[in-house]
């Protein structure tokens, strides 16, 4: 930023206009591209939302759906029930939770400067899930208390991983996270085997993530969380592109480490909110960042990541619900089956940051 402002003053003596123009253009092109990417992704998310609403085993025409949602009712109680109580809350939950996962993943990968360091791989998602399951099965909590437990668990695991790995930005963090995540997974397994009935659907939701249980309560919770956290993220994420230069350069440019930690905290809270509602959707946070980045010519975009997350979760839910056999495959299984090979491919390309020892 600072370098670009003092460059034109020296250039003014000679060929002022072309240089200024060149700088302006160099700054404008990425911005335009980013706006275009965000628009394309927003349209994609909207299309995915509409597909989830209108198509499926019970289809609606667009005018019918609008009439039902606006409330100028058509006289078909079944249709009204299916749209308003099942499809709409489920699709909205997938959209909002996807935003949470995607934004959080993009922030993690940018601040930690490693595409592997997304909250699902460093154990934050599993930590949130384990805390939620403890609250659910051990203390019999319901609703918002479970969500609160997930938030506390996520922050706790984040602090533990950070403390054990000794500071952010190291490769150790990923390895420590992998270890802690596998321990958390077996805690979840254990709690479900201890529960009197082995409810496979519920267990799958907390192990791999599923949108199937969504209702209006879940939508309300996500809206509240997003309304509180998004402005905070917006304000703190403006420093992300500088954080990306590394801790030394960033503090030289006036972005303190404290600011980076605030962004991380917001990201942890976002992903925990997502987990509290739909479970730890496998690899969703991990996938969103790199996809948005690739579309945005290699530049970080948190909004882009969020929109990619929403689109992916909606698509995964649709595929799992309607397109595979006659079973309801949880969305987390779809994203896991697709996401992990992507990670392997990323590793094979050597695009996973500094080589670890």
């Amino acid at each position: 930023m600072t370098t670009t402002t003092d460059r034109p003053t020296t250039a003014l003596h000679a060929a002022a206009v072309p240089d200024v123009e060149r700088v302006r253009r160099a700054r404008r092109t990425p911005r335009r591209r980013h706006a275009l990417v965000v628009m394309v992704l927003a349209v994609a998310a909207l299309v995915a939302l509409l597909v989830n609403l209108l198509l499926g085993s019970y289809t609606f025409t667009a005018p019918d759906a609008v009439r039902i949602i606006v409330g100028s009712g058509i006289d078909r109680p079944t249709a009204e029930f299916i749209l308003m109580e099942q499809k709409l809350p489920r699709a909205l939950t997938a959209l909002l939770a996807g935003l949470c996962f995607g934004a959080s993943g993009a922030v993690f990968q940018t601040v930690l400067r490693n595409p592997l360091a997304s909250p699902d791989i460093v154990g934050i998602s599993t930590g949130a899930s384990a805390a939620a399951v403890v609250a659910l099965l051990v203390f019999g909590a319901r609703g918002d208390v479970v969500a609160l437990a997930a938030e506390v668990g996520a922050v706790g695991i984040a602090l533990v991983v950070r403390w054990v790995a000794g500071g952010i930005g190291s490769y150790r963090l990923v390895l420590v996270g992998v270890g802690i995540a596998s321990a958390m997974l077996s805690v979840i397994h254990y709690l479900f085997t201890r529960a009197a009935i082995w409810d496979a659907q519920l267990a799958l939701r907390w192990l791999t993530g599923s949108v199937a249980a969504a209702g209006w309560d879940e939508v309300r919770l996500l809206v509240v969380v997003l309304v509180v956290l998004l402005p905070l993220l917006w304000w703190s994420a403006s420093s992300l592109r500088i954080t990306e230069l590394g801790p030394d350069a960033a503090s030289g440019l006036g972005v303190t480490a404290r600011r980076a930690e605030l962004v991380m905290l917001v990201a942890v809270l976002l992903v925990a909110a997502g987990v509290a509602v739909v479970g730890p959707i496998a690899f969703l946070a991990f996938l969103s960042g790199p996809i948005a980045r690739a579309m945005n010519a290699g530049r970080t975009s948190v909004i882009g990541g969020a929109l990619v997350g929403a689109t992916l979760l909606l698509a995964a839910d649709y595929v799992g619900h309607y397109l595979i056999g006659d079973v309801n495959m949880p969305a987390g299984i779809i994203t896991g089956a697709v996401g992990a090979p992507f990670l392997l491919w990323l590793m094979a390309r050597g695009a996973t940051g500094r080589s670890p020892r």
Binding site: R172, A183, A340, S355
Partner: protein, 354 residues
């Protein structure tokens, strides 16, 4: 009864005495000596086995095993089988871990971390669902195949990028493969509705409630695997010097790796088929043993088997009473106890030492 013979054979192992005199000059590599370590291991195994027989939902006099009239006879029978399975599987997994660490020259190598367990479980579930295999004697072959392919795949992916197959990259590739395979396994189990309840048994290891004939079916494979692993101690010692030096010593590195890989495949495929995936045990045991007896695989391998059995049986026994009522499966116990040690190893940063 092969486990006990495998364990006791290490005390009678003729290589012990020459090995001891040879290492007398550099005693700091083997602070306690192999014989002492073996003796402690056998004593610990006997104690662990006895505890496993006595402790449970209620305390039982172990002599009831030999008294068919005793009301506790059935309990003792079940606990006997359970203890035997624990000993055999612990030995198999401990040995497989040592072999893997030697094979990849990687201190973080572990059958679970490298995705071998998940590969075996996935292949078996796929075999049961799509090929129609029934019985453990049938799907154990899929277990071998899955473990082998997963191990090769993880190593391949990790070795492509910059710097070759470093410990960290192997672990992350293994975690990715495990996640993918777990998704696919769960997906297959979901499509065949009646197997829904089985998800548990493919994702959390347990040595409880197994049938004797399943154990008898698996046992020969583990015996062969253990024999193969013990025979490959010299191979692993040569590989530890690096590929070039091993080749200079006249070894065919590719064939050697295949032999050790076959042993690991047999041990892991069989153990997953019988009990399910056990994490971190194969990672910890060889490190524990190496600290006692140094880097010679002729000593590491048998002791890894012994200590693997001790830890497995102990974890199973502790799991019976640690959180009453009900039991904690041995797979959960090893993961919860093993993860902090794994994390501590990473934190110490001593990863590149093999």
């Amino acid at each position: 009864m092969s486990p006990s013979t495998a364990v006791s054979s290490e005390a009678a192992n003729p290589t012990d005495l020459p090995g001891r005199t040879a290492t007398a000059g550099r005693a700091r590599h083997a602070p306690r000596g192999t014989t002492t370590s073996a003796a402690i291991c056998i004593a610990a195994l006997v104690a662990a086995a006895l505890a496993s027989l006595c402790i449970g939902n209620r305390l039982v006099d172990p002599l009831a095993l030999f008294d068919a009239q005793s009301p506790d006879h059935a309990v003792m029978d079940a606990r006997m089988l359970r203890t035997m399975i624990g000993i055999v599987l612990g030995a198999a997994i401990g040995m497989a871990g040592a072999c893997l660490q030697g094979l990849t020259r990687n201190p973080l190598a572990d059958p679970a971390l490298l995705g071998l367990n998940a590969g075996a479980a996935f292949a078996m579930v796929a075999g049961i669902t799509y090929v129609g295999t029934t019985g453990i004697g049938g799907y154990i072959w899929f277990g071998f195949l899955g473990a082998g392919v997963a191990g090769l795949g993880v190593h391949l992916v990790a070795s492509i990028g910059r710097g070759g197959a470093t410990p960290g990259k192997l672990v992350i590739a293994g975690a990715a493969l495990t996640a993918a395979l777990t998704s696919w396994t769960t997906g297959i189990l979901l499509t065949s509705r009646d197997t829904l309840d089985q998800i548990r048994s493919w994702q959390v290891a347990s040595v409880a409630g197994k049938q004797t004939d399943a154990f008898v079916t698996v046992l020969p494979f583990i015996v062969v695997g253990v024999g193969l692993a013990l025979a490959s101690a010299r191979i692993l010692n040569a590989l530890a010097l690096g590929d070039e030096l091993a080749r200079g010593l006249g070894r065919s590195v590719a064939r050697d790796r295949a032999v050790v890989g076959l042993a690991v495949m047999l041990l892991i495929g069989a153990s997953v088929a019988l009990a399910g995936p056990v994490a971190f045990l194969g990672l910890l045991v060889p490190h524990l043993v190496r600290r006692q007896v140094g880097g010679d695989y002729a000593r590491i391998l048998p002791l890894s088997a012994g200590w693997g059995a001790v830890l497995m049986v102990t974890a199973d026994t502790v799991g019976r009473f640690v959180l009453p009522p009900g039991e904690v499966q041995v797979g959960v116990m090893t993961a919860v106890l093993g993860a902090p040690v794994f994390v501590a190893m990473i934190r110490r940063g001593k990863l590149g030492n093999l």
